[in-house]
Symmetry: C2
Subunit: 248 residues, 2 copies
Amino acid sequence: MKISISFDFFGSSEIQKTVDFSDYCVIVIDVLRASATICTLLDLCDKIYITGSIEKAGDIENSIKIGERNAKKIEGFDFGNSPVELTVNKNLIKEHFENGGNIVLTTTNGTRVLENIVSDHILIGSITNAKSVAKKAYKLAKENNKGIMLVPVHRKGNFAIEDFIGAGIIADYIFKEYDEKIPDEKFEELIPARMLTKSDWVRKIFESNSGKNLKELGYFEDLIFCTSKNTQKSVGIFDKKSGSISSF
Amino acid sequence: MKISISFDFFGSSEIQKTVDFSDYCVIVIDVLRASATICTLLDLCDKIYITGSIEKAGDIENSIKIGERNAKKIEGFDFGNSPVELTVNKNLIKEHFENGGNIVLTTTNGTRVLENIVSDHILIGSITNAKSVAKKAYKLAKENNKGIMLVPVHRKGNFAIEDFIGAGIIADYIFKEYDEKIPDEKFEELIPARMLTKSDWVRKIFESNSGKNLKELGYFEDLIFCTSKNTQKSVGIFDKKSGSISSF
């Protein structure tokens, strides 16, 4: 099975391009914070809408609106893209969903990548659900005779070390759990990300540009939440047609 | 000064795309073996022609022809893309050049990247000339008010860890020599490559796909040559118009 990492969403070239990963089961990784937010929501409800547009989020009726722009909560929205804030309000969210209400999340980077990937199988990966997503992606890829493509989201035009580290952590689980004997050099492109997981990677994320920004905005608890390995078991799968993510 | 690394020449998307690095002084890095071959030749002569086409190489009159396809010497050519082979034959090459003859090198990956970059300043970087190329690139970038872009060449469609490590080594020299106080996180995209330079990177290159291929083809000495840090001082600069590389 081919296991690889995509560098397509950081680079000098067009950011909005479509990338064909139809031969792969894809794991999209947006460590700070969309991936962990999605896992948190999927612990409370089976389906959430996701969109890059504030306007479109507004169009979804009877919904709890969650989202951020530049890491800050959007005016008029119910919650920010903060897994800690959502955890604190979990009863309210759960109740709303169980009573037939909708949940909608809007973020920029993660949504941009989700919408630009062509694949039948797009899963949401984070450090918090690393083991679960690795397990499910491997099974899915095997059943469908596909490879696995790890896709760090990055920020528009900027490399995000936290997403690269997240990809390394998930890759480690894919390797460790399923085939001890895969030689490293067979997957040369995974070496840099996997090497980072052997370093003081939590510090690197705390000191990253995204990390420092979150601290400055008062989201230090989210940083701790999003860098806690395997605290979540939910895995989300993206459905492009409906623009939603469901539990998988 | 912006210092960055390009992931543009490894990826799922079009390999033949043009990348605009006109805001940067570019260092193109093809560790095994074109960069070291070029440094070796520039120790013997001031100018060499470079082309991706065997036919075009044949068109250059009165020339010593050097080149490879799939790491093997091209039939009918004088030498392979082997710095060790060229070093052994250095007197012959020097004499030919001093008597008005030409030198032409044809390789696939390195030439492909050189031809697809838009920049006024394209330097050739290797592990063997890491310190020199870092020094010259920094001076050039400063004088022209540009950034520095490190460009690992990779193989067509395949990631090459040796070029990524080469970029990290050169980045370390840029940082170390010129500004000790640059915080790591300011250049987040350089962290993975720079981290690799703190590992057993020589072993990683020897065990890479390219490294193993060279060993199998009997080029073990080239592997040692190309991974020897700062054994060469030559720095080449590419001139797209004439398709040649000159000493800089």
